[in-house]
Amino acid sequence: MSMKISTRQVDGVTILDLGGRITLGEGSVQLRDSVRDLLAKGQKKILLNLGDVNYIDSSGIGELVSAYTTVRNQGGELKLLNLTRKVHDLLQITKLYTVFDVKDDEASAIASYARG
């Protein structure tokens, strides 16, 4: 039932590969802690790869929003990559699709971050 999360660096951007469920409890907390740890280390260019996330509830959606605002408030950028259809639909319904910078190609997503 839990979420899998792994981290890698590409050209100064930290990619979090997420898989499983982002729901109230474990998944949401894992995401929050991961983003907080990255910010504490000064890594402010964050790309959340949601390609293997097959389920997200309102708590998980809220966590994505909180991560987005937290990173932005610290002068960073958080973008989303590879939305599944279910997650895409949920972001459309909640009018968040246009709030997030959503990418579907990793290379162009990496290139879209500000240099420096």
Binding site: M1, L24, G25, D57, D89, I93, K95, V99
Partner: protein
């Protein structure tokens, strides 16, 4: 009645995330058994999960002395799921609109909205104390939601 399954199943559960997961899984099985399509199975189980989260988290506040009940019924024309809690009560009229520009970036407040988006009917009833949410999906209805 010999050989017939009961039309309504009711669980009384503690206020935990395990209970939320059980209710969600039961809803998914019920929807699958009723023959609704995969998209609606997802919508129904998610709406029921959100209602259960609401009961456990916002209603009962994880109080070990308070219970959530969840009943599941296939009437033949509808799937009817009722979730009750023993909390302070919920007035849906007081809930902020999560689509309002000033609320879009809030970290919470989307649960009831998603329930309403995914089900055909949603009814609130005050129990004094507590709240009962009734979620209804019409079988054979056109797909709802996005």
């Amino acid at each position: 009645m010999t050989g017939q399954e009961p039309r309504r199943i009711t669980y009384t559960l503690d206020s935990s995330l395990d209970s939320v997961n059980k209710v969600e899984q039961t809803a998914e099985q019920m929807a699958r058994k009723a023959g609704v399509d995969e998209d609606d199975i997802f919508r129904i189980s998610m709406a029921v999960r959100e209602a259960a989260v609401n009961a456990v988290l916002h209603g009962n506040a994880y109080d070990p002395d308070k219970r959530m009940t969840a009943s599941f019924e296939n009437t033949g024309s509808d799937l009817v799921i009722r979730i009750t809690d023993e909390g302070k009560g919920l007035d849906p009229a007081t809930l902020p609109d999560p689509l309002a520009p000033e609320n879009l970036l809030r970290g919470s407040g989307r649960g009831i909205f998603l329930i309403r988006s995914f089900m055909d009917e949603v009814h609130f009833r005050q129990l004094h104390p507590g709240t009962e949410l009734t979620l209804i999906k019409h079988l054979g209805a056109a797909p709802t939601g996005a």
